[in-house]
């Protein structure tokens, strides 16, 4: 019989473009200490550790083994999960299953990346098929630009629509002391910023970041005894299809629509727009804030821009998205999905301070990566009804 699982503590570093003052292990340690402090626990209370990042960014092999000096996992079980950009969400889902299995009661989940030490695009490029994909289309931004162009052609959206999402997230980031980029921008500034890959301007995309995030997950008995109001994990779902880059349905994120349908079906959500109170979306560039909420079933296909322009996804709107400022304000890749999870948890726990959405009953956090991949977690303030 499955056991209920909750997040009982979160911690993250103050994310920056470059942290020359710490090495990777020390960066990890900052996030771990904050998560333990938040949950009022010590490392002795932790039964097992799940860690994730992308190897080729820092060039460290067997990161699980290397990391123990920073994570405190010496003489504890530690396991590494990694799935590219989705890693942060993948490891949270990993923590969930490991606790739900009943084999461990308290699990520490750590995501980290020191992108200042990496050739980010170079490393991402090697993900793709060496013969067919790598030379022509690989890397992150080219694929995203193709998606945005396809979406604009299909549904008549414009680069102003994308810029509107950027304005929203960059404004939200000013409420988040941990975000890397905390400066409001105007639509005109976004559109006037350098063009990186048409239609994506510099201010439409995420930065490169050094940062780490940690969360603590606990079984039901320990969660209810926790110092914090627990954030209950209601359901998880993901899809990681990949054949070749040309197989994707550009302008739609199939992995997101399939994961969402599974997630809603598991818990009986019929009208996600009304039943979800806040979303922390792994949105590496602004146009994803239009497209992927359609695939998530929040609005119909082609309706994303109108919904966003109406202020519905702003703080105070019907369904605030990325109160943290999201990925375009901060992107330590292996940690990014876990930051979404931690921020969603903080919303449910009522610990989001200046970026708190009132009275959150259900939150969704997502991960994006690989080749149009999606990971999703549904969070809830009450114990799940199963």
């Amino acid at each position: 019989m499955a056991k209920r699982v909750a997040i009982i503590g979160t911690g993250q570093t103050h994310h920056k473009s470059h942290r020359p003052d710490v090495n990777g292990q020390e960066l990890i340690n900052e996030a771990v200490k904050r998560a333990l402090q938040d949950a009022d626990l010590t490392m002795k209370d932790i039964d097992a550790v799940v860690i994730g990042n992308m190897d080729h960014f820092e060039g460290i092999n067997y990161v699980d083994c290397w990391s123990v000096d920073g994570s405190g996992a010496v003489m504890k079980p530690i396991i590494k999960l990694t799935t590219g950009g989705t890693t942060g969400c993948t490891i949270a889902i990993g923590g969930y299953h490991i606790v739900a299995s009943g084999l461990f009661d308290r699990v520490l989940v750590i995501g980290w990346e020191k992108n200042s030490e990496s050739d980010t695009t170079g490393a991402i490029t090697t993900a793709f098929d060496p013969v067919w994909d790598r030379l022509v289309f690989a890397g992150a931004i080219s694929g995203l630009a193709a998606e945005a162009q396809a979406y604009m052609a299909r549904y008549g959206a414009t680069d102003r629509d994308g810029a509107r999402v950027s304005v929203r997230d960059r404004k939200h980031a000013t409420n988040n002391p941990y975000a890397q980029l905390r400066k409001e921008v105007t639509l005109e500034e976004v559109l006037a910023s350098p063009m990186l890959a048409d239609p994506i301007h510099l201010l439409d995309v995420c930065p490169r970041t050094d940062g780490a995030c940690a969360i603590i997950m606990a079984s039901e008995d320990l969660a209810v005894k926790s110092a914090n109001k627990p954030d209950w994990i209601w359901a998880t779902a993901n899809r990681h299809p990949y054949s070749y880059l040309g197989d994707a349905d550009y302008g739609r994120l199939t992995s997101m629509s399939e994961s969402s349908k599974e997630l809603y079906k598991k818990v009986g959500i019929r009208e996600p727009r009304k039943e979800i109170d806040v979303i922390e979306l792994y949105q590496p560039y602004s146009f994803a804030g239009l497209i992927w909420i359609e695939d998530m079933g929040i609005v119909g296909h082609g309706e994303g821009p109108e919904y966003v322009w109406g202020g519905n996804t702003d703080m105070g709107g019907e369904l605030p998205i990325n109160p943290s400022g999201g990925v375009i304000s901060c992107n330590p890749i292996g940690a990014t999905g876990l930051i979404r999870c931690a921020e969603a948890a903080m919303q449910v726990m009522g610990k989001a301070e200046g970026r708190q959405v009132p009275d959150v009953k259900h939150a969704i956090s997502t991960g994006f990566g690989g080749c149009w991949w999606t990971d999703m977690i549904l969070h809830g303030s009450e114990k799940p009804e199963y």
Binding site: M54, C65, D69, H97, A100, S101, L103, P130
Partner: protein, 378 residues
């Protein structure tokens, strides 16, 4: 632990260079063999865990290359980076978490496309250790010396591990290096890193393994008699070699003790009838056996010389031929699990064992270990 079982296993032949196979080709072959073994269709699999390593594959997000070939395109899927025993552990938790009943676990690598000295050098501290040129072989040679010094284990005893395991491989159609050799052959083979001769070292290999895990609800529903998972535990020691007593493996002792306790084994030396362990180098078979408490300190070499670990004896160790006869990194631990399963089921020479142990390792000189106790009976 709630009950779960392994209900199907499949693997490719282990070869030095599978020139005509991509990672996906290897995964496809192993997965289909596992499905066939279990009497299952891909639709019977609820979710998938692949196991790979970006360094060994020379690809970022190395799981991308095998997901579709592992049938994961329309399923929930995840990826463990590390030895296959760790991948299988995560697969087990997914079958116990209430989300899925059946989990397909795969693990692959192609040593033929890798430069192992550079890849394992990248596991050392980038500032203090990498520049020394250390790699898995040189570090393991130091560990072998430390172990021999503490226990009095001899070079000849190490060589006997190689003789036994390559000989055992002659009965394993999947093995890469199956041959009859003598202690002298091992001692006369090229010195790679003192005290490790070439025949003390496992080869460079290509291969993939797949294992299907089911919870109790589904374990008995398919063709095979389930092999039950009695205990699983893993543990990591300190990172820097200098922070450890290199002649010991504290983390292996801890993992083994916990796995025995989970399985309810009070006298594992008697109760375990079969061991498949991670013998990347000859000394590791002896050292891991001692550190798991399966024989006394300094006794493994002497017992080996008496034939105590022979495939036809009461306590066979690496009857498949072990890693010395084929070492596709990452897959190697999952292959250990599969070999134990096959022998407990009785489809390979199994010596009638009821309980078997499989062990895998991550990191340098056995920093992190995973120990599995599998049983024929519920």
């Amino acid at each position: 632990m709630d009950r779960a079982a392994i209900i199907g296993v499949g693997m490719t032949r282990i070869e030095g260079n599978k020139k005509t196979d991509t990672y996906a080709d290897m995964a496809w072959e192993a997965v289909n063999r596992a499905l066939e073994d279990a009497g299952m269709e891909m639709d019977d699999i609820d979710n998938v865990v692949t196991t790979s390593n970006d360094f060994w594959d020379g690809r970022t997000i190395s799981c991308m290359a095998v997901g579709d070939a592992s049938g994961a395109a329309n399923k929930n899927v995840s990826c463990v980076e590390g030895d296959g025993t760790f991948g299988a552990f995560y697969g087990l938790t997914r079958s116990l978490s209430g989300s899925y009943d059946t989990t397909l676990v795969t693990a692959h690598s192609k040593g033929s496309e890798s430069v192992s000295s550079l890849i394992t050098n990248a596991a050392f501290d980038p500032i203090y250790e990498r520049g020394l040129g250390l790699d898995m072989v040189s570090a393991s040679a130091m560990q072998a010396r430390a172990f021999m010094h503490r226990t009095g284990t001899t070079q000849e005893q190490l060589a006997m591990v190689s003789v036994k395991n390559h000989g055992n491989a002659m009965r394993n159609p999947m093995a890469q290096l199956a041959f009859k050799i003598t202690v002298e052959d091992v001692l006369n083979s090229e010195m790679i890193a003192d005290p490790l001769h070439k025949l003390d070292c496992s080869p460079v290999s290509d291969g993939c393994c797949a294992v299907i895990i089911a919870n109790e609800k589904k374990a008995g529903k398919y063709a095979r008699k389930p092999v039950w998972i009695k205990g699983v535990s893993f543990c990591s020691d300190s990172y820097h070699l200098g922070d450890r007593d290199l002649s010991r493996s504290k983390s292996l002792t801890a993992a083994a003790e916990k796995a025995y306790a989970m399985a309810g084994l009070s006298n594992p030396r008697k109760e375990i009838g079969l061991v498949e362990l991670y013998d990347a180098f000859t000394y590791q078979e002896l050292m891991w056996l001692e550190e798991m408490g399966l024989c006394g300190e300094g006794e493994a070499g002497k017992l080996l010389a008496k034939g105590a670990f022979d495939a036809d004896g009461k306590f066979p160790v690496n009857p498949s031929g072990g890693l010395l006869s084929g070492h596709p990194v990452i897959a190697a631990g999952l292959i250990r699990i599969a070999e134990v399963v096959k022998r407990l089921r009785g489809d390979e020479n199994g010596s009638g064992a009821k309980i078997g142990l499989a062990q895998g390792t991550n990191g340098l000189c056995g920093q992190s270990h995973c120990v599995w106790i599998l049983g024929k009976d519920k």
